[in-house]
């Protein structure tokens, strides 16, 4: 299908919206009625047609507006994109991975023409047509990682692999769930995960790192993570927390359905061929509570998950104060009927709300 790109904002007047198509393909992250951290990783080898899992780098109706928002964040704060000196080769690896994947997966939107080291990249939605020399930094307007991630939805962490660990030595981070690349750059897997509650004790990070170190080229993996955001604000950075934190207090029983968003990150992992680094794209999808409630199964399940989530997680994810109001709202959509296993909405088979 051809994508109609929305003209919308993720700040100020928040004109962001999801079409029916986008709601239906929203990556609802709960496969059962409760949630706890786990080593939830699987191969990233496509998925159902039209789903966010189908393509290596999903492009959706928010693409053009998200890239505009990223440019604004970077203009305000260039430190959101950083690369330590030894990471340039990994940046080229990433540029190649994205250009090849997007031109193969979306030939109507992106074209890559390679003639030896002379590459021509055509990005139709953003109106870009650039010719450059592969592996020659001087032929691009930005470093290779910054160049390509200004044109790709989602945040990117580029990890160096050494000493049996992963090191966050480069990244483009403008749509983050409240963590700072500028602070975390140079840290290893256990250090940047230090603030996460409960998961260290459960041995999750030790097992997850082992899995990641063994990811092979051509065999990417993926997982989902989630949190809550008031208003469809992409840039929930600690840098700007003193500006956006107050928005959490603007929820009312009347506006919560429209204002409160479930924020889901589709996280993928790709081995990079020349640098042997690993790239970790973190793609953020937002959906308002009221749009989620159009899927009866999701309504029932979200209520149960939020209700039963351990206090530590609700606190870490930053919605402990708003949880009672969320539950008042969500409980209207939970009639107590059982839900089918798995994340899909199962619209044809799940009964409508019975009250």
């Amino acid at each position: 299908m051809t994508i109609q790109f929305n003209d919308e904002t993720f700040r100020d007047d928040y004109s962001f919206h999801n079409s029916d198509w986008a709601i239906k393909r929203f990556p609802f992250p709960f496969h059962e009625d409760s949630y706890m951290y786990a080593v939830n990783m699987e191969q990233h080898r496509g998925g159902p047609e039209g789903s966010v899992y189908e393509k290596r780098f999903d492009v959706d109706e928010h693409y053009v507006s998200e890239m505009r928002d990223r440019a604004m964040v970077l203009a305000d704060d260039p430190l959101r994109c950083q690369s330590l000196p030894h990471m340039t080769l990994a940046g080229w690896d990433l540029l190649e991975l994205i250009m090849v994947s997007k031109s193969e997966d979306y030939p109507d939107l992106f074209e890559l023409h390679r003639d030896g080291d002379t590459w021509r990249w055509v990005n139709k939605p953003l109106g870009i047509d650039d010719t450059f020399t592969f592996l020659d930094d001087t032929t691009l307007p930005y470093g290779p990682m910054e160049y390509i991630t200004r044109q790709t939805q989602g945040d990117f962490c580029v990890l160096d692999q050494r000493d049996g660990n992963l090191w966050m030595d480069a990244g483009m981070v403008t749509t983050q769930a409240d963590w700072s690349l500028d602070f975390d750059i140079g840290m290893n897997f256990f250090e940047w995960h230090a603030p996460v509650p409960l998961a260290h004790e459960k041995g999750i990070f030790v097992r997850a790192l082992k899995f990641l170190l063994n990811i092979q080229q051509g065999a990417p993996a993926r997982r989902l993570n989630w949190t809550m955001t008031v208003n469809p604000l992409l840039d929930t950075s600690p840098e700007n927390y003193h500006k956006w934190g107050i928005q959490k207090t603007t929820l009312t029983p009347e506006n919560i359905g429209a204002k409160q968003h479930l924020r889901v990150e589709l996280q993928t992992f790709f081995r990079l061929p020349r640098s042997n680094g690993l790239v970790f794209p973190i793609r953020c999808y937002l959906c308002s509570f009221q749009d989620l409630m159009t899927m009866p199964k999701w309504g029932r399940r979200l209520h149960r998950v939020v209700r039963d989530l351990p206090v530590e997680l609700a606190t870490y994810k930053g919605f402990i104060d708003n949880r009672p109001m969320m539950l008042d709202y969500l409980s209207q959509f939970d009639d107590g009927l059982p839900t089918s296993p798995g994340v899909w909405p199962d619209l044809e088979t799940e009964p409508p709300l019975s009250r």
């Binding site: 430190l79 700072s180 500028d182 602070f183 975390d184 750059i185 140079g186 840290m187 256990f190 250090e191 940047w192 995960h193 230090a194 603030p195 260290h200 600690p238 840098e239 700007n240 927390y241 003193h242 500006k243 956006w244 934190g245 107050i246 959490k248 207090t249 104060d321």
Partner: protein, 198 residues
């Protein structure tokens, strides 16, 4: 002299050990304030004959005692900032096998450790021992300004004036803890400051 026992914390927070005299042809000891006591504890004439001491007293009165150890080289600096060029130079000139000893405040150890790592000293050749003040070097995540010797939580950023909560999350690259606005969701509601470990 009792040493402060830091409470258990998250994995980004550094842990410090206890200095011990190691074998080696050359030794570099960098200390501030009460860090001098850790050097005095391990000093022997033999060790001192191969040791360069860089000491920043910060008002503590140990300089004469250290000088009396007769180290091969002794430098007394008025501040870390004033000493850092010299530290870099010494590390640059270091030969394989140099043993590095860092002791005193977290800010001193963190910054000097950074210099040593950047100079290519293997981390196995670097020892640390905390002594003296438990104050923290903090980076304001909002304005990026660094404030030295933060003793209370919350504290007011010395650069942008925001009231910051003192996190345990620590960056070795910055040699600093992170400070995050404490009253963003309730402007003006700032608890009375207390000692970080109270």
């Amino acid at each position: 002299m009792s040493k402060f026992e830091f409470p258990p914390s998250i994995k980004s927070r550094p842990v410090y050990g206890t200095l011990e005299a190691r074998q080696g042809k050359a030794h570099l000891m960098i200390a501030d304030a009460e860090g001098a006591e850790a050097i005095l504890r391990i000093a022997t004439p033999d060790l001192m004959a191969k040791t360069h001491i860089i000491y920043i007293p910060r008002g503590a009165g140990f300089a004469d005692q250290l000088r009396a150890l007769n180290p091969a080289q002794f430098y007394e600096g008025p501040s870390y900032a004033a000493s850092v060029q010299r530290i870099r130079r010494v590390l640059q000139d270091a030969h394989m096998g140099l043993q590095v000893y860092l002791t005193g405040t977290e800010g001193l150890m963190g910054q000097a450790q950074n210099e040593a790592m950047q100079a290519g000293i293997p981390h196995t050749a670097i020892q640390t021992e905390h002594r003296g003040s438990v104050a923290r070097r903090m980076q304001c995540v909002h304005c990026k300004g660094i404030t030295e010797d933060v003793e209370t939580d919350p504290f007011q950023c010395s650069h942008c004036g925001l009231n910051l909560f003192v996190r345990d999350h620590y960056s070795r690259r910055l040699a600093a803890y992170q400070g995050v606005c404490i009253d963003a969701e309730d402007p003006g509601n700032v608890p009375a400051p207390k000692g970080i470990y109270e």
